[in-house]
């Protein structure tokens, strides 16, 4: 497939990172699209969990909220929210937490709480929801966001959820036993943390993307892997699956939820 947008590449690259036997706690927005593309292509048996309590859900259209009726109707089971956070998340039964971010730093720490000072915010964002515990209780965390200097920053304004903190073994020092952020997928590149420092490092550029462009859209000094890969471009099946999913979603939401 020759023609695709950077956002499509981001979603499809994120979908590819998910495996058929994963149990994935799905954030709304870009993570939700990626998880469902994975389910509709190479990972038909993936277990998708949304924090509204729906386990093993198979929505035909992407939910607008984490609690759309579609999620419950197509789920294996729906549990109460306290049970979701206690038995399933805190109990260590979820392999991947998939999060978006308003602000991200090079160590995978995420801010979705405030821009500016907490007490006197410039912009009051929605807040963390389930993210503080998703980030510490899931086996590992994948992050997806669109690159922009104000999104990928040297210092985040608030630690909504903890990634690798100041890097190195900071998680272990706090007694956190899970891996934390292991993958960052943007509209331009695929990043993985350095094994020692835990700083996100560019491992693969999407087709047509230059190093300069990655640097110009990132607020910290970018580290590139010595051997850079090119992300394989979307296949016909991946792109068609994503576009059909988005078309069904648009029709359903604009129709006041009538599908």
């Amino acid at each position: 497939m020759s023609d695709f947008t950077p956002n499509e590449m981001m979603t499809i690259a994120a979908a590819r990172a998910l495996k058929n036997d994963d149990v994935c706690f799905v954030g709304i927005g870009a993570p939700s699209a990626a998880c469902n593309v994975a389910r509709l292509t190479h990972a038909p048996d993936i277990t998708l969990i949304y924090e509204s309590g729906t386990i093993g859900t198979r929505p035909d259209v992407l939910p607008l909220s984490i609690g759309d009726g579609e999620l419950c109707e197509t789920a294996l089971t729906t549990v109460a929210v306290p049970e979701m956070f206690r038995y399933w998340l805190m109990g260590g039964r979820i392999s991947i937490g998939f999060l978006g971010a308003a602000q991200l730093d090079r160590f995978g720490n995420i801010n979705t709480t405030v821009i500016g000072d907490y007490k006197n915010p410039k912009v009051r964002l929605p807040g963390g929801g389930g993210a503080p515990e998703i980030a510490s209780s899931c086996g590992e965390v994948f992050i997806t966001l669109k690159q922009a200097p104000r999104a990928m920053v040297e210092r985040i304004d608030f630690f909504t959820s903890f990634g690798h903190g100041e890097g190195g073994d900071h998680r272990q020092r706090l007694g956190i036993t899970t891996k934390g952020p292991t993958l960052l997928i943007t509209d331009l590149a695929i990043w993985r943390p350095d094994p020692e420092t835990k700083e996100f490092t560019v491992r693969s550029l999407h087709r047509g993307v230059t190093r300069d462009r990655v640097e110009a859209t990132c607020g910290w000094k970018v580290r590139f892997a010595d051997a850079l890969d090119e992300t394989p471009e979307p296949t016909d099946l991946e792109l068609t699956t994503l576009r059909e999913l988005q078309a069904r979603t648009k029709a359903a939401h604009e129709g006041g939820g009538r599908s």
């Binding site: 984490i66 609690g67 109707e73 009051r124 209780s137 956190i176 939401h253 939820g257």
Partner: protein, 282 residues
Amino acid sequence: MAKFLSLADAVRQNLHTGDTVAFEGFTHLIPHAAAHEAIRQGIADLTLLRMTPDIVYDQMIGMGLAKKVIFSYAGNPGVGLLRRMRDAIENGYPRAIETVEHSHSAMAQAYEAGASGLPLAVFRGYKGAGLPAVNPDIRTVTCPFTGEELAAVPAHRPDVTFIHAQKASAKGDVLVEGIVGVQKEAALAAKRVVVTVEEVVPDFKGLHPNLCILPHWTIDAIAVVPGGAHPSYAHGYYVRDNAAYLDWDGISADRDAFAAWMKANVLEVGPEVFASRVEGLK
């Protein structure tokens, strides 16, 4: 013991100025009609408790009824920010509000602790997160068996919890189905419980034995309000009005547009309008 009342009487008898109140519902079954009645009655100085204060709390805050909000995610789900709540936090309009912020895990477990009659919830959480530094209610306890340090938050004990449910039996037992959220815990944690329902059926005979049911003796008042969750939804009755959530972003962006919308759609109408709002959503 559950009394069947009009919505106006159910609100008047159970919600008072200065109360701590939860209007719970996790995307599903949000008690919009009950909150609109509280707005019409102008019951103010409220501490609003909810995991996900979405547009119904945006409306109550925008009308100046809240002095404090305790929450874990303040957004219009899938759409964006809560513009009236932001105006209150960022600009003190129409009044300044205090916020107490938690994670979902903490909020859900604080309700569970309240329902259990415990003083606190204990869990593994908040590690490395920024909230403990800005919310003095987030503390730690040490496990006496393993020595592990765990997060602790005080139990939620609202003066009154409002929820919306599918059915009440003639006796006043209440059935909740679908995404059950945290409503059972929020109801059992509260001193008083008011439920709006889609319909009343004679009894619950023949239903699956494990359904989520609140017995009539845990409830204070029931009001029948078909469509009472709109633009949220009632599983089995009508779907979520996603277009209304998208529209709210524009309405709430402007103080005057918001005031005009509230006047026309809340202040000058009654609970009976909800049935017509969901007619196209079945």
